[in-house]
């Protein structure tokens, strides 16, 4: 943890020196006091000189909801990351489109997570969770991220795309690099690696698209895009096709993966909560929402001001970047009691901001909750504790709040 010394104590900084885009804040898990100070002293804060250019930070829960639901004033175009669009590979995706185009493209794919499909997926997910958990080595130290979190979410993603199952590790790789460059989010994936990986992703999915064309009986994401008149020719617009594929891969992968890891960590850091869970596994559904809040797998979403606007006393100019820090909104005491604490039986656990609000609200939220619920139901049938036996290694990113590794040891019932 020597690097932590390089990060200044936030109380030693003037407000204009506070830069919450620094990816080390997340890699070293040092972000809490930074946002606590912004929420208290400068809830709509301007950083004039960051590695990602100047940007506004919106850090309070209610202010984030106000920005998220005002898509006229705060546009999602051209990109929802703090970094600027990579001109070499200018991806287009519906999360980074405003209505009405956004609505048409989202509608084409959201049927995959519609209630009827979810109910059908439940037994498949459970059988996979059981297989993964039963294959784990009891009494040995192993990496929870690789053996459980990545394994399960990648299987799910392969199913949603009807992607060749034996090549599914590619989905994880593309997910990791899609938003992983230093310019976009402070990640450590080089521009060249991202370029070549994204092009491989495009080629692979273009091939799948053409192989699948004309099938009427399938309900995977590619088939849904092909059958909807608004997206039937998407493959002819490579940056739009690739952008939406990347969106669905990251949306269905990084988020649930890191919540599946974060839950283990949170319960180990809060043993009294783990005791509550052991005493009453009926708390699992509420705990899942609490895990998603506590983890906040995506730290931010960006908007861009469509026109000059005064917001909470600040003059935001047309074209300014406006960053909604979900990771901060979820710790806002004015909206959530004891917001820094992990409490699995909260009164109102769904009242969190991890899924965003407004028309871009997470499409797969109920699928994510279902996967995590089943995971914990099956864990509790097998293990007294998933014990964390070392420090987690966190991802360098101001966007994905993720884990590279988490060493654990299982204690059977």
């Amino acid at each position: 943890m020597n690097q932590a010394a390089e990060l200044p104590d936030v109380s030693s900084l003037s407000l204009d020196q506070i830069d919450v885009s620094d990816p080390r804040l997340y890699e070293l898990d040092a972000w809490r006091p930074y946002f606590a100070r912004l929420r208290e002293e400068a809830p709509v804060h301007y950083q004039a000189d960051s590695a990602f250019g100047p940007f506004w930070s919106v850090t309070r829960f209610d202010d984030i909801v106000a920005v998220d639901t005002n898509h006229q004033a705060f546009s999602s175009e051209p990109i929802i990351l703090i970094g600027d669009l990579d001109e070499d590979i200018p991806l287009e995706m519906f999360i980074a489109m405003d209505p009405p185009k956004h609505d048409l493209q989202r509608r084409a794919v959201q049927a995959v997570v519609a209630p009827k499909n979810l109910a059908e997926m439940e037994s498949l997910i459970r059988s996979r969770v059981v297989a993964v958990l039963d294959a784990l080595p009891v009494g040995e130290t192993f990496d929870w991220v690789e053996r459980v979190s990545i394994n399960l979410t990648t299987q799910m993603l392969a199913t949603l795309f009807d992607f060749p199952f034996e090549a599914r590790h590619k989905l994880t790789y593309w997910s990791d690099i899609a938003a992983g460059s230093p310019e976009l989010t402070g990640g450590d994936v080089s521009h060249e690696e991202r370029m070549s990986g994204m092009m491989e992703c495009l080629e692979t999915f273009t091939r799948i698209w053409h192989e699948r064309k004309g099938r009427q009986d399938s309900f995977d994401l590619i088939s849904l895009l092909q059958r909807d008149p608004n997206t039937a020719d998407m493959v002819d617009r490579p940056m739009e096709f690739l952008g939406n594929i990347a969106l669905l891969i990251v949306g269905g992968n990084d988020t649930t993966r890191n919540s599946a890891t974060g839950g283990v960590l949170a319960l180990n850091q809060n043993p009294a909560e783990y005791d509550k869970l052991r005493a009453n596994p009926g708390l699992i559904p509420g705990m899942v929402s609490e895990i998603i809040r506590w983890q906040t797998p995506l730290a931010h979403m960006r908007r861009t001001a469509s026109a000059d606007i005064e917001f909470k006393g600040q003059k935001i100019r047309k074209g300014d970047k406006v960053i909604m820090w979900y990771v901060s909104g979820n710790r806002d005491e004015s909206a959530i009691d004891n917001a820094d604490e992990f409490i699995i039986d909260r009164a109102n656990p769904r009242h969190h901001i991890s899924f965003g609000f407004g028309v871009h609200r997470c499409m797969g939220n109920r699928l994510a909750e279902m996967q995590l619920r089943i995971l914990w139901e099956e864990i509790m049938l097998r293990f007294r504790q998933v014990e964390v036996v070392g420090e987690p290694e966190r991802v360098s990113s101001n966007f994905v709040r993720g884990y590279k590794t988490l060493p654990v040891r299982l204690h059977p019932l």
Binding site: V65, D68, T69, H71, P99, D103, R106, R107, Q110, A111, V113, A114, P115, K116, L118, N348, R350, H351, H352, F355, F357, G358, V359, R361, M363, N365, R366
Partner: protein, 106 residues
């Protein structure tokens, strides 16, 4: 205190004595009617208090504004009679209203 009936997807019916001036969502939550999540707490921002308003009550329950219309637009199970119950203000004019709940809120 208008009487409003909410019918769950499984057919179970709940008739509540609703309080005027409060939203239908808040009335349903306060009285423990299952099937309405209301994740955002009534800000017209999440779409998880979705209801289907029976034809006879469509006019008196009012019209969806632009934001509500946009939020309903991201529901895969939207119908012509879809509303967000946090945007329906209860009044005596709604006495006897019947709404149906979707299979899932999402």
């Amino acid at each position: 205190m208008p009487a409003i009936t909410l019918i769950e997807f499984n057919g179970e019916s709940h008739t509540i004595e609703a309080e005027n001036g409060k939203s239908l969502m808040q009335n349903a939550i306060d009285q423990g009617v299952p099937g309405i999540d209301a994740d955002c707490g009534g800000a017209c921002a999440c779409g998880t208090c979705h209801v289907f308003v029976e034809e006879a009550w469509l006019a008196s329950s009012g019209e969806a504004n632009a934001l509500e219309d946009a939020m309903l637009g991201i529901r895969p199970d939207r119908e012509d009679n879809s509303r967000l119950s946090c945007q329906i203000e209860v009044s005596d004019a709604l006495d006897g209203m019947v709404v149906r709940l979707p299979e899932f809120q999402m």
